[in-house]
């Protein structure tokens, strides 16, 4: 057995202090302290987010953009302030490029539906073999509607994009590349800057699915030079029900509305309706106001963190977890890219992920078991499902130790 060096807890990242910001972490599950290792499914929320949403409903609740009374004004101000927080956080040039949606799924559907209206039969969209179903199915629906062709960039056994295959996928009909920034099933961080550069050489815009990237790194859409960026509030320590589509203004301007209704119009008569400007044109109906305010507060929380410390800490967690898990007999790590977020997918001989989930739960360890909405990835690795431990900056080395011990126990129990 190799000597595995336990990362020392260091002065740069005071994890005990950070954990106190997340009230949910302080509880027992089946008689054990909760070790929440399912952050790729959804993250926990800091106290400040919970309080901001509570305060909104206690004091400020009103519809936005509709009234002149005091509450309507407060709600509208706070809602638009949240949009500005998002803009600042991802360094978008303009708040007009920040569209509030329900989450990553809706953001991608919006692009497939609206940008997709400009596509014709035979036009091509490139996706990759490691996409979440949210970045596969909307394009298949578009294919059914318009006859676009889907091309799929393969992955390597290590779980990295096979970039050498990318040039061969471009054609004169390529209209968009849609790929994930970070894989939720494998943890791979994709070289998206490079993909964007290659795509732009062919005049092809790029949509990035940022659902799993946002919680682990600072994202700058101008530095990435991407054309669309989609993410979910609930995976970014904010509430469910709210997400963001960033779109380059010149592209959004040219896109038809996604849904029709209130908020998205300027004038309506039965003969003709003129649409509102950006971003409201894409926000039909009453939005998730409390959700947006909660997301804005989550972003303010994240902006106060020392991100070089966060990333260094998470990297140590990843390396430690990978070493500890690989040391367990019968365990195989799925996804061994050079660049990964703090996420380990694995299978174990004789222990099905579903049994694993139950056994770990008994020890207070929350992990995900299943296909992670990435069935093509499971097919590629010829496994029906994996177990996945996905960490955030509030997880600890002790939790990884408990995971490793429980995995050994699972094997003893079932093998």
């Amino acid at each position: 057995m190799n000597a595995i060096v336990k990362p020392r807890s260091d002065a740069d990242w005071d994890v005990a202090r950070v954990r106190r910001d997340f009230p949910i972490l302080d509880q027992e599950v089946h008689g054990h302290p909760l070790a929440y290792l399912d952050n790729a499914a959804t993250t926990q929320k800091p106290q400040s987010v919970i309080e901001a949403m509570d305060r909104y409903y206690r004091r400020d609740n009103a519809n936005v953009h509709r009234g002149v009374h005091a509450l309507a004004e407060r709600a509208t101000t706070d809602f638009e302030a949240a949009r500005e927080s998002v803009r600042r956080f991802i360094n978008a040039p303009s708040a007009r490029e920040i569209v509030f949606v329900r989450g990553t799924t809706e953001a991608i559907n919006l692009v497939a539906s609206s940008f997709g209206q400009g596509l014709r039969e035979g036009d091509e969209v490139i996706i990759t073999a490691m996409e979440h179903h949210a970045n596969i199915v909307p394009w298949q629906l578009l294919r059914e509607r318009t006859g676009v062709v889907l091309r799929v960039l393969p992955i390597t056994p290590a779980g990295e994009l096979d970039l050498e295959a990318l040039p061969g996928l471009f054609s004169a009909r390529t209209r968009l590349i849609a790929l994930t920034h970070v894989s939720n099933a494998l943890g791979t961080i994709n070289p998206v800057r490079q993909v964007v550069a290659m795509a732009h050489e062919h005049g092809v815009p790029v949509l990035l699915d940022g659902a799993q990237a946002m919680p682990h790194m600072r994202v700058d859409v101008q530095a990435l030079d991407c054309d669309f960026y989609a993410f979910s509030g609930h995976k970014l320590f904010g509430p469910t029900g709210i997400g963001v589509l960033y779109g380059r203004e010149s592209l959004l301007q040219a896109m038809p509305p996604y849904q029709g209704g209130g908020e998205m119009i300027r004038t309506v008569s039965f003969e003709k309706t003129t649409f509102a400007g950006l971003p409201h044109r894409f926000e039909a109906g009453t939005p998730d106001i409390a959700g947006a305010i909660g997301l804005g507060r989550a972003i303010e929380y994240l902006e106060k963190l020392d991100w070089s410390a966060v990333m260094a800490y998470e990297h140590r967690l990843l390396e430690y977890a990978t070493d500890r898990l690989k040391d367990i007999p019968g365990l195989r790590v799925i996804g061994e890219a050079r660049d990964k977020v703090a996420l380990v997918s694995f299978v174990m001989d004789d222990v099905h992920p579903h049994d694993m989930g139950t056994i770990l739960d008994h020890r207070g360890l929350a992990v995900r078991a299943g296909h992670h909405c990435a069935m093509p990835v499971m097919t590629f690795y010829q496994v029906p499902a994996t177990s996945r431990a996905s960490m955030a900056f509030y997880n600890t080395v002790e939790e990884v130790d408990r995971l490793a011990a429980a995995l050994r126990h699972a094997r003893e129990l079932l093998a």
């Binding site: 992920p353 579903h354 139950t358 008994h362 299943g370 029906p384 499902a385 129990l413 079932l414």
Partner: protein, 149 residues
């Protein structure tokens, strides 16, 4: 929550490690695929029904310990029974696993009583009932596949 050992009883582990009647059946009268999309459990159940009696029953597939053991125990119990008896067993197992106050006495179900512990794990009930739903489909309809959704 109850002890993990109530779920993973020795009998269940034995069936998981050594599934009975785990084989293809070329002369089956019905073959039905059962699929649990939530966790990817997938099995194919074969039955040979002659004169209203289940002469042979077998399965192949992949899945968690609970679904594999349940399917294996199913084949042992159902083999040789009449179709009516098999359907009553399905109803009893379903009752035992899904009702808070089942009228079925696990002791009367023989080995199948070992599945009773699954009731305490709502997320796992579908694992245990997959093969039984598949059997029910094989015996009562013309469908070739069934999912737990």
């Amino acid at each position: 929550m109850s002890e993990l050992n109530d779920l993973y009883q020795e009998l269940i582990l034995d069936h998981k490690r050594h599934p009975r009647n785990f084989r293809d059946m070329p002369d089956a009268t019905r073959a039905v695929d059962g699929h649990n999309p939530l966790c990817g459990d997938q099995l194919r159940l074969f039955v040979k029904v002659v004169g209203g009696r289940v002469e042979d029953v077998s399965f192949i597939g992949v899945g968690c310990a609970i679904s594999m053991a349940s399917a294996s125990m199913l084949t042992e119990t159902v083999k040789g029974r009449t179709v009516d008896e098999a359907q009553r067993l399905f109803a009893d197992v379903h009752d035992l696993l899904t009702n808070d106050h089942p009228h079925t006495d696990p002791a009367e179900l023989g080995n199948l009583g070992a599945l009773a512990g699954v009731h305490e794990y709502p997320m796992r009930v579908k694992c245990a009932t997959l093969s039984w739903h598949t059997l029910d489909t094989a015996l009562t309809s013309d469908e070739d596949s069934v999912t737990t959704e």
